[in-house]
Amino acid sequence: MDKLNIQIGNLALKNPVMTASGTFGYGKEYTDFIDLGKLGGICVKGTTLHDRQGNAYPRMAETPAGMLNAVGLQNKGVDYFVSNIYPEIKDFDTHIIVNVSGSTIEDYAECAARLSDLDKIPGIELNISCPNVKEGGMAFGTSACSAADVVRAVRKVYNKTLIVKLSPNVTDITEIARAAEAEGADSLSLINTLLGMAIDINKRKPVLSTVTGGLSGPCVKPVALRMVWQTYNAVKIPIIGMGGISSWQDAIEFILAGSSAIQIGTYNFIDPTISEKVVNGIQEYLDNHNIAHIKDLIGALEV
């Protein structure tokens, strides 16, 4: 499997396949289905400084080839993670990345600082792109200036690998990408969910309690792929591509568009073994096409 090794910041991933935050719990929910040791890494559920109950029910609407969610970062807070969840997951044979979110810049920095002491957490993914919280979240990720502010503040207190997760709900994603890179991000992950909505025509009401929510699943793949390609051409740091990946073929597309690694999100709900299948599929693709190393495919799209 050596031809699948990939470096993201200080992270030496055994392969480019990771799982996306919010779709993979803390990894332990999947151990009945797959061997986590086969994965390059897992991004655990969005974690905030304080406990969050998330949004009211209903939080989900199915769409053609996808779904809308309005979970709103429900989690028990970083201290609970450190004392209760971390001990349970720290010995998984894969890289565990914690997705960090907040309502204020200070929250992000404090949450990151509390995670920096954990030996088995080699990196964090800064979520400046959650569309489902009233304050913070996506608000930081939709202007280059505020994105720069939050990345700068976290970079000051966090020395391990810092991945910044970008929102697609912007006019020019490359502007935000460049701002994050300039402030010292080691890698960019994209895309988070696209803002959308669904209506119950009988009740004439929104399906989601929050009216709008985040769209994910195969339906967003073309948009995600386009944004990965644009971002790849705008920055030098490695990109972790995601958005609707549901097969190894999708993963190869994202790598050709410029992703050094990929994350699988919503499709984990449909097939909890998909991540392992994607690892195997990429390996076979390299073998069948006599490609020496996955690196040779990154951004190898011929246009």
Partner: protein, 261 residues
């Protein structure tokens, strides 16, 4: 342990215009994974372009002799309509078993009256649970409600495990009205009530049970994306905060819910 596996359709019979009873078994005659009453499965529906997520369906019955899992399916959307067309020999991919299960009556006195109330497709888990209670020596009483007699399903099956009382909204079978108005509830001598069905029905039963000091468990069917505790979409606001119905439920004791008026 949860599994993802392909099961083979052994039978799919249309019970009425909108319900079918799907029977599934393993492809290699190995025993089905153990499933408890109240648990559910997630069905991967293919060949339905508008269906993306798996469909959560409760375990209707386990026929141990035939090694069959029964699913009572109400065709209400494209996914369940597709399931109604499954033929003997088709393979269906499932995640199972999911969720918690009903807990046995608090008192071990087998003479205690135990009531199982089901409405609509919510009658489904009551059959399996009733069969197990009977096996354990209890004499469960079933109270089943539907719009009209043609919507009352599996009555012969229920009758194998206990007394069956019914209500229909049009009065075509049993007492006219809703299960919550049935005359057997007038004398509140039940020690335990289990219920599954439309939320207003379950809330009315929960309040009845609370008023009379009867232990009561309800089985919820909040919409969900994953079925194993990662999407956090199916939450119920309980006394311990928002929890996932798919992992901490679907069965809840009413004292943990915020349902009591």
């Amino acid at each position: 342990m949860k599994k993802m596996l392909d099961l083979i359709v052994t039978d799919n019979s249309q019970l009425n215009q909108s319900y079918c009873l799907l029977k599934l078994s393993t492809t290699n005659s190995s025993p089905l994974p153990e499933m408890f009453p109240g648990q559910f499965v997630e069905v991967h529906v293919t060949d339905s372009p508008t269906t993306f997520l798996r469909r959560p369906i409760s375990v209707n019955f386990i026929d141990k002799e035939k090694n069959e899992l029964w699913l009572l399916v109400q065709a209400i959307g494209d996914g369940t309509r597709r399931m109604a067309t499954y033929k003997k020999g088709d393979l269906v991919n499932l995640l199972l078993p999911l969720g918690n299960s009903f807990t046995p009556p608090e008192s071990s006195d087998k003479k205690d009256r135990v009531l199982l109330v089901g409405g609509g497709v919510g009658t489904a888990p009551m059959l399996y649970w009733g069969s197990i209670l009977k096996e354990e020596g209890y004499s469960p009483v079933f109270l089943l409600g539907a719009r009209s007699s043609k919507d009352l399903l599996q009555l012969d099956e229920f009758a194998k495990y206990g007394d069956v009382y019914t209500t229909t909204e049009d009065g075509s079978h049993g007492e006219k009205g809703f299960v919550t108005n049935h005359s057997i509830l007038e004398l509140p001598d039940f020690k335990q009530i289990y219920t599954c069905g439309p939320k207003p029905m379950m809330m009315a039963i929960a309040n009845y049970a609370h008023k009379h000091g009867i232990t009561c468990e309800v089985s919820l069917e909040n919409t969900m994306a994953c079925g194993f505790g990662v999407c956090l979409c199916c939450i119920e606001n309980t006394t311990r905060g928002n929890v996932c119905v798919c992992t901490e439920g679907p069965v809840f004791n009413i004292k943990d819910l915020k349902w009591i008026n």
